[in-house]
Symmetry: C2
Subunit: 374 residues, 2 copies
């Protein structure tokens, strides 16, 4: 089976459809839980699947350092290694090598750096990134790119974008012919429309199975991000999936889908779950807060997750305060369920042409408030 994208319906700029891969279908708009080090933190993979996730994201940077891409390949690939048989998207390592590694040195060739795990020296180039992602067995491979840290001058952003476009060409070349697998290009250009246009044109002239919007959600704020999303998705081919990297909070996700994004990923639901934070239809809830100590109600009575089916807020408060692992396990399960429910809700709304009503309800429930009033 080949990798393919089918657009089923649109509602304004919002789209719903399906990506087919040999490992299964990905319903879009899709939210991809992050499984950085071959695990979605605090979750068993079957529990992730139960939330409705069709695809996970794995981090090339982390996996190349530990346990190592060649080792994962010898053990049968990342799917088998982590016991997840549905699609996996891997990032290229480009973003994280710049934010996590030590002593990095950037050249036209690539990036040389030291591991934050053990200090060992490594090189990442477009060619090596493609090789690592192939060894991992990734279904959706990302081009190796440079995403400059903000704040950055427009000149610096332009320079990084143009380097990323040259690397995109090398990535495409190195990726080769791999039926059933996809390579996505990454649009850069910061918040500058002309640079976004230049980047989109460069990527389209190379040609990819999908297109990501990179360089957002890096501190520019929601308004600036939505400003870019008002025009950037339309610069990319309509018949290919559009992936907004590293986004975001529920309202970021809704705003991105509204503007034509098909795929997203973010550590927020998993990370929040490990610090006592829950995301619900009525907003964010801090379970550490004393007001939950005697509350017999579930976190969200409309939610089907294990936390909401089996436990009171009082219990969640107790295990958060006591530092018990079950707190992270239950709240992560809840947060991922909420995110997947949000995606399913948007898919249904787009298919039925009622996205505007869905959006209004989303904001009304959050404004009506606080979880206290459930």
């Amino acid at each position: 089976m080949r990798f393919s994208f089918t657009l089923d319906a649109t509602d304004g700029a919002a789209r719903t459809g399906r990506i087919d891969t040999p490992r299964g279908a990905i319903r879009t708009p899709a939210f991809m839980p992050v499984g950085t080090a071959a695990t979605v933190k605090a979750m068993l993979p079957e529990q992730v699947a139960e939330t409705g996730a069709d695809i996970l994201l794995g981090n090339t940077y982390h996996l190349m350092l530990r346990p190592g891409a060649e080792r994962v390949a010898r053990l049968g690939g990342l799917h088998r290694f982590m016991n997840w048989d549905r699609p996996i998207l891997t990032d290229s390592g480009g973003f994280q090598v710049m934010s996590l590694a030590d002593l990095r040195k950037l050249t036209e060739e690539g990036v040389t750096f030291r591991s934050h795990v053990d200090g060992s020296k490594h090189v990442l180039t477009p060619e090596r990134s493609m090789e690592i992602q192939r060894l991992l067995g990734s279904d959706i491979v990302m081009c190796f790119d440079e995403c400059p840290a903000l704040p950055a001058t427009e000149e610096r952003v332009a320079e990084a974008m143009r380097l990323s476009m040259r690397w995109a060409e090398r990535s495409r070349e190195a990726f080769g012919d791999r039926p059933g697998h996809a390579l996505f290009g990454i649009q850069q250009g910061g918040v500058t429309r002309a640079l976004r246009e230049e980047s989109a044109e460069a990527l389209k002239s190379i040609g990819f199975e999908g297109y990501a919007i990179g360089g957002l959600a890096v501190g520019e704020g929601q308004e600036a991000m939505f400003g870019v999303l008002d025009y950037a998705p339309a610069m990319l081919p309509e018949d290919r999936p559009r992936y907004l990297m590293g986004v975001g909070k529920p309202d970021d996700i809704l705003g991105a889908v509204k503007r034509g994004v098909d795929m997203m990923d973010c550590v927020l639901p998993t990370r929040s779950g490990r610090t006592g934070q829950a995301w619900t239809r009525r907003g964010q809830v801090n379970l550490r807060n004393a007001r939950h100590a005697e509350d017999p109600r579930p976190l969200d009575e409309g939610c089907t997750c294990p936390a909401c089916r089996g436990y009171s807020r009082a219990y969640l408060h107790h295990v958060v305060r006591a530092g018990e692992m079950i707190a992270g396990m239950l709240l992560t399960a809840h947060n991922l369920q909420y995110y997947q429910d949000l995606m399913a809700g948007m898919r249904g709304a787009i298919a039925e042409g009622r996205f505007a009503a869905f959006e209004a309800d989303f904001h009304a429930l959050r404004a009506e408030g606080d979880i206290e009033r459930l």
Copy 2:
């Protein structure tokens, strides 16, 4: 339904049977996973049930301090609070107040101490311990006792035992009439046979639904423990369950069952699971060890737990090294499964009169060795 114990078969001193309670049956010999703070660490309760556990242990000391017994009662009791509807045994708090609390002061009346959580002042007496265990909704309640730290002189051990017997009488009186719930007396007396006899007689003259053997597994060593177990169980009524508190490693458990023990509890399988240690039919395995890094085999190919069904030793090694929560989740599930499988194996062997052969196989497989040769 009343609390009752049925002895189904014996093989030498070893016994198998069933404890019936309104919340379900407990097959004996039984191993009780420890759910100290209203959670079996790193496990969801349905996962604990899947291992075959019929009953959990909860710690009165921890629960009285956080979230508090009155709060648990207001929230519907411990079973509902922690989402576990099968039987729960609670200890009395006596052992842990002496090992964990600050500034404790022991009198005939009870123990005054400061919480290790927040420094607040508390009093535990036989009457208060019974009240707390009633508020929690415990199915099997333990008498409040004093277990002296070792090494201790025989005089000190005798003194603590006699105080515990006076407290046992007060516990029985305070427990009252609670159909469907059981109160267990605790034999003390260290490793001195005459004191064990005196304690057993005192308890029998009061009368309990079950009898625990306390004051062992506190540093005396397996040989000394087995020395006591060679005579202590026979001092207790044959028609009541016998519970050996805080034991132990797999070979401790087998030796205790061989000597007539029906119930045990220990933090070992759960605690080990959170530090990369696995218990298997072939002995203990440290997953942190580099020899597992490329090993594609499961931890134990004969095991049905989620860790052995879905993952290689290489994966377990990776997540242990990376400090991922899934390491504790999978290894705890494995260890509890191994413990329950061991109990089920012993129950079957006793029922079929082949306990000696079971014991020989148990030791042969461990001697044959190392997990490497699986």
